[in-house]
């Protein structure tokens, strides 16, 4: 059975050109990038090239503002904890939003255990943060604001530029979690106005195990890992050379293909949402239709629970993700959906469909047909559905 993979948010394939760059590198001899002999210099140069490609993708003025990490989660942890530690003499208060990724939520929870305090601002029905609410939450002792660029469950893109203006006025550094938007929508850190930006390679078709943190020049952040002087003293430990080379190749591809990627994903998303009413009677489309990730469609099917739908689709070779409590491991409904004011039962029926470069219109129709018949079967079982 041919699989239709529509869960690119969970894991992306590696682009062929990225795989080739990494395979070539694997077949060569390298020294430690910190060594001054020629094999070391060669490795340092490869890393510098990758750093330049990433700096070009994100619009950083100086390549050294890009720090390579092991994943998006590490970048987020360093941005938040590293800022809190570096600025603890200036205050102990941090502002964030109700719909952040767990990397942000749990980093902040850890800081709370250490004596920091946190204000989390709400979002509207579309998942949008109001910059004025962020402004009101900032106090004299606020040392950081952390806002995600695009939400990973509903795809809403936040008004980060406006929030950045607020932060600059109040002289508070801003961290933006751009893990799920980097390489999929245009991001220029200068225009965004953020001081710290977290991202990772796999979301833009690079390898897993490598991420990046943009640290604007003049922003003080403590490292999470202490040791050597790698990464301009921002992250100790011998560099993940292969991963970094892969990330560089993926960044170059993303810069080149961004427009094409967006158009492709958006056409599939539009097709899915336009045809969905022909296959499913009652559903809610989540997120902000005017400001959203082009590759993500979040749909809540009413009267049903998402895990059962997801399993039934999997039986037919169609792979998507669900945000129901039953499938989350934590047995809690998604905090993102509940924050938008969605009813618990509707949140339970949420499917997240995420497109990748290999998907076609035929995949969309196969998804819709399979979904239509799964929903029909499950509605017969559901006590919440009245004909």
């Amino acid at each position: 059975m041919d699989l239709v993979y529509l869960d690119h948010m969970s894991l992306n394939p590696i682009l062929p050109e990225v795989r080739k760059a990494m395979a070539d590198a694997l077949n060569q001899e390298w020294g430690n990038p910190s060594s001054q002999h020629r094999l070391g210099e060669k490795a340092a140069e490869a890393i510098a090239n990758a750093r330049q490609s990433v700096a070009d993708l994100i619009g950083a003025r100086f390549p050294r503002e890009v720090v390579f990490t092991s994943c998006g989660t590490e970048s987020v942890n360093q941005a938040i904890k590293g800022t809190a530690w570096a600025r603890q003499d200036k205050g102990n208060h941090i502002v964030t939003t109700n719909i952040e990724h767990n990397a942000v939520i749990r980093s902040l929870r850890r800081l709370k255990q250490m004596g920091f305090s946190v204000t989390s601002v709400p979002v509207d029905k579309l998942g949008r943060v109001n910059p004025a609410t962020v402004a009101r939450a900032i106090r004299p002792e606020t040392i950081l604001v952390s806002v995600m660029h695009a939400n990973n469950e509903i795809g809403t893109i936040e008004p980060v530029e406006e929030i950045a203006r607020v932060c600059r006025e109040k002289k508070v550094p801003l961290h933006v979690d751009a893990v799920d938007s980097m390489g999929h929508v245009p991001i220029n850190v200068e225009e965004l106005g953020a001081d710290l930006v977290s991202f990772a390679a796999n979301p833009f078709y690079g390898p897993t195990g490598v991420g990046g943190l943009y640290i604007r020049r003049g922003t003080t952040v403590w490292p999470l890992l202490d040791g050597g002087v790698q990464e301009n003293r921002n992250r100790a430990g011998t560099e993940n050379l292969l991963g970094i080379i892969g990330m560089g190749a993926a960044a170059a591809a993303a810069s080149r293909d961004l427009e094409k990627r967006m158009a492709h994903a958006r056409s599939l998303r539009d097709l899915l949402l336009a045809k969905l009413p022909e296959y499913v009677e009652e559903f809610v489309v989540n997120g902000d239709p005017d400001n959203c990730l082009p590759y993500l469609a979040s749909v809540s099917v009413r009267h049903l629970e998402g895990e059962s739908v997801m399993l039934m689709l999997d039986e037919e070779g169609v792979e998507v993700s669900t945000r129901s409590a039953c499938a989350s491991g934590s047995l809690r409904a998604s905090h993102v959906l509940l924050s938008t004011g969605m009813e618990f039962a509707d949140a339970q029926g949420t499917l997240v469909v995420t497109f990748g470069p290999g998907n076609t219109e035929a995949d969309v129709f196969r998804f819709l047909e399979t979904l239509g018949s799964a929903v029909k079967t499950l509605l017969e079982i559901s006590p919440l559905y009245k004909k």
Partner: protein
């Protein structure tokens, strides 16, 4: 994640549906993860002559309901009263630990349906509140979804891995 037996019942659930002339109805909802289950029984000569279910829930919840109806059909009421959630899980060749707590409600719903039948028969009103499985059913314990360590009732985080079940917001 699920056993073959669970997937078999999930793929082809037995005895799905409602019953307009049911002799007893048992309805149970679980606020923890949103599973809901309704069991309908038809009683003849003190035996469960027919049984149907409807379930809103995950794959495990659907398989549990289906398996329960298979076990209960044809049993005398006295026999049916002895069916436990544990029996249903065992017949399904096991369930993931964290699903034992939230999705394994079938036997409880059946007990409610039997009680409903007996109340109707005796002409007395049925006891109003259905039992909350988290208060009345201590057969299955709660396990941390991340490290599988048992989490005692009332404790909101796992002491083993420090996972806390109170989700965002961070403040």
């Amino acid at each position: 994640m699920y056993s073959k037996k669970v997937m078999d019942h999930f793929r082809g659930p037995r005895n799905v549906g409602t019953m307009e002339d049911a002799d007893g109805v048992g309805e149970l909802g679980n606020p923890l993860c949103g599973d809901m289950m309704t069991i309908y029984i038809k009683v003849e000569d003190d035996r469960i002559a027919d049984i149907k279910f409807q379930t809103f829930g995950c794959g495990a919840a659907i398989a549990v309901s289906s398996m329960l109806t298979e076990i209960a059909r044809g049993k005398t009421l006295e026999e049916a009263k002895k069916i436990t959630n544990k029996d249903v899980a065992a017949a399904l060749e096991g369930l993931p630990k964290n699903k034992l707590h939230c999705s394994n409600l079938g036997a409880d719903a059946l007990q409610l349906a039997i009680r409903d039948y007996e109340a109707k028969k005796s002409g007395k009103p049925r006891e109003q509140m259905p039992p909350d499985p988290h208060e009345h059913n201590h057969e299955e314990k709660c396990y941390c979804p991340y490290c599988d360590t048992e989490v005692p009732e009332g404790q909101t985080f796992c002491k083993n891995c420090a996972f806390s079940d109170d989700e965002a917001p961070a403040d």
